[in-house]
């Protein structure tokens, strides 16, 4: 009996490990920044080059920071959702235009719609490094105290929006 049971148990354990391993997404690297203050920045605005935006200006409100670029293909995928979200007025969405050219970025917004309260420019990706950006698009939920509470790696999906981002935003706004 034992000689059949033991390999079966060993095999089951292996299967469980493989199932867990295969269902993990290697792209989802947990960000160490969650629960930490959002890195400060002072960056030029995309629409109006004479103006800047600092991260401190957003203290006191819950906001989303969406990292995007005109060269980023999956940004197009999530864009309609962001436009809709911005229209709903539930939470302001700020854009971090990551390693992009101003002309192309402006043209892209004209073509696909501009959901951003303000977009800021990070042409060399330095603020991106501070935020631990490694794959665009990424979206951060930042609370009233300027603390990062959630990070969406990859495009925002309807599911992520409904199950994670929006409930969290409501809770934080509460």
């Amino acid at each position: 009996m034992m000689r059949y049971l033991l390999p079966l148990v060993a095999f089951s354990v292996l299967v469980v490990f493989l199932l867990i391993g295969l269902n993990l997404n290697p792209r989802q690297v947990p960000s160490p920044l969650i629960g930490k203050p959002a890195p400060e920045f002072q960056l030029q605005q995309l629409q109006d080059s004479n103006k800047t935006l600092t991260s401190k200006e957003n203290l006191g409100k819950v906001w989303l920071l969406n990292v995007w670029a005109s060269w980023c293909v999956s940004c197009r995928e999530e864009h309609p959702l962001l436009v809709e979200l911005a229209k709903s007025g539930i939470v302001p969405v700020y854009g971090l235009n990551y390693k992009d050219e101003r002309d192309l970025a402006l043209q892209w917004l004209k073509q696909f719609g501009d959901p951003y309260t303000v977009s800021i420019r990070d042409p060399e990706g330095r603020t991106g490094i501070d935020y631990g950006v490694y794959g665009v698009p990424e979206t951060y939920v930042i609370d009233k105290n300027g603390v990062i509470r959630y990070k969406q790696i990859g495009p925002v999906t309807v599911e992520a929006l409904e199950t994670k981002i929006l409930p969290l935003v409501k809770e934080l706004q509460g």
Binding site: P26, V29, P30, P32, L33, G125, I129, Y131, G132, Y134
Partner: protein, 156 residues
């Protein structure tokens, strides 16, 4: 055949001329050497099987630039690694630190080794007991002797 030889020659020659390491901006060879040495132990998060030193991803380029600049500012290797870990997590390290969340990673193999050794020990012990010469009963001994005698007689 000639065509084939030509192709073969191409295959041998081209890769070595194409294979360039990540673009270097070697203003200061000392910093460059230090940067490459440090980034060999760091993971590129975009192409996760490559080190920051070997990756040609744009992202790796940016991080190499960052490391280079911090080295110019006289930051120590440890300060730079801490800077990266604070932003990207332990995942950037090819040599993860020993701490409670990585205990399984570090000591798991030894647990398996110990478990295997224990299993092997008991298995061998049981096996030895099984293959020990079973004692012959008196009648069996006589039968065997008779058989031996018999076969001796036949061969002679």
């Amino acid at each position: 055949m000639k065509k084939f030889a030509f192709l073969l020659a191409l295959m041998l020659v081209l890769p070595s001329s194409w294979a360039k390491e990540a673009v270097l901006v070697a203003e200061d060879p000392e910093i460059e050497r230090r940067m490459i040495h440090l980034s060999e132990d760091l993971r590129c998060l975009v192409c996760q099987n490559e080190s920051l030193a070997g990756s040609r991803a744009d992202f790796a380029n940016d991080l190499r630039r960052e490391i280079r600049e911090q080295m110019k500012d006289n930051k120590s290797d440890k300060e730079i690694v801490d800077f990266l870990v604070a932003r990207y997590g332990d995942f950037v390290l090819y040599r993860p630190p020993v701490k409670p969340t990585t205990f399984l990673l570090w000591f798991g193999p030894f647990v398996f080794l110990a478990a295997g050794a224990i299993l092997l020990f008991f298995y061998l012990k049981r096996r030895r007991r099984q293959i020990e010469d079973p004692a012959l009963s008196e009648t069996q001994r006589q039968q065997a002797e008779a058989l031996l005698k018999d076969s001796k007689g036949n061969n002679a």
